[in-house]
Symmetry: C2
Subunit: 236 residues, 2 copies
């Protein structure tokens, strides 16, 4: 928790004092081991970052005077399309993508996505939000990414994707691609990452027909949770 994310409900007595009681209190007590007078990095969800000076701290609550004014770090110009991974990998990948500055994530179905994954509690709104918040706290960001779910592959690819990719660079991560993933790219990228085992040929054809360029990272096939940070950091 490199930044303590503040919500509007945290504010008491006007605009510059917050009182926190939840996991943020626990973290400040147990990990930061902070004391009254200490300054912590804070940020208002969807807003600016700044400092919080601790004015009160007990096992019951944490009170801080906050001063905002610093913009959040820039977002990555990328939309991430991810074949729904198994729940634990989904959690870690959401947190990692959020920490790297991805602001739009589309979870899609694919032939090699197990049907049971769509029933996982990891797909509930509060579970997704929890992972995204972990990523924001890690990277000192305040802008919540948008995560949407698309259960049906074909309608998504045929009906939604064509409009979405206009004016973007659409790339498909594919270990058997002949093109290498570009480096230090300019422009908005739409990046599709397949499931463990990869997209099937039909799916790759559909992406290609839509204008996606299949690219590989090298000779090695990476797991989804390594591939996402690896590709993003190579692209930007």
């Amino acid at each position: 928790m490199n930044l303590i994310l503040l919500y509007k409900d945290d504010f008491v007595e006007g605009h510059d004092r917050v009182r926190l009681r939840d996991r943020r209190l626990k973290h400040v007590l147990e990990v930061h081991r902070a004391s009254p007078g200490d300054e912590l990095c804070v940020g208002l969800l969807g807003g600016e970052r700044g400092k919080g000076r601790i004015t009160g701290l007990s096992s019951e609550y944490l009170e801080m005077d906050v001063q905002l004014g610093l913009a959040p770090p820039p977002a990555l110009p990328v939309t991430l399309i991810l074949a729904l991974p198994r729940p634990k990998v989904l959690n870690r990948t959401l947190a990692a993508a959020s920490s790297m500055g991805v602001k739009k994530i589309i979870l899609i179905n694919s032939y090699r996505v197990e049907k049971s994954f769509w029933q996982s509690p990891a797909l509930k709104n509060d579970s997704i939000e929890k992972q995204l918040v972990l990523g924001l706290e890690q990277a000192r960001d305040t802008i919540m990414p948008d995560v949407v779910l698309r259960h049906l592959f074909k309608p998504f690819i045929e009906d939604e994707l064509p409009d979405m990719i206009e004016g973007t660079i659409p790339l498909l991560a594919h270990p058997q691609a002949s093109a290498l993933c570009p480096r230090g790219i300019e422009g908005h990228v739409i990046l599709a990452v397949g499931p463990e085992g990869g997209f099937i040929p039909y799916e790759i054809e559909k992406f290609s027909a839509c204008g996606f360029l299949p690219v590989r990272m090298g000779e090695r096939t990476l797991s989804v949770e390594s591939a996402v940070p690896a590709i993003l950091s190579r692209l930007f």
Copy 2:
């Protein structure tokens, strides 16, 4: 398991037939759902890769005729120095580094490494090997990385590191560094990655005095498990 890693003990009746009974059998039955006659990607630990044609498959054993002849993928020219992370993160980071082709990993102590981490079962040889094997299987590699442990920070930095960095590019991942991490580098890199919370100023000074250049990935502080794939894919 994109490659089934074979050990010398797996071979029966000469040099080209193997019989497997362990988690590899389970994986071929439950994930690959393979049948006799199918060909699977295999590789001999420390040796060549090739194909295994299934000649027998039951709940008891998997038998394959194997033909090797393909070299493993090239290693990354990097030595990874990692402040010992908490056990779960260690496991995932070892697997990720192994999948990306890191062949030398040095786990070191640092002020912000919790003492209890050094007592974790995750540091036992068989646990470390398990994670490294997962990485090799993922990336279709056969060359086991070497992992060493250094419990004492100062003797490692002062006595071992100076010889180790000769002829290499020594880089220290440090979110507050003024230099950006280079891209597409040539030469052997020694990369030091700190604990969650970062190396303390004294430790950064020791690395710098030894010749390490502190570099950052951008404005965002990444978790260890995202930082390692992100930095490696940016460097090479």
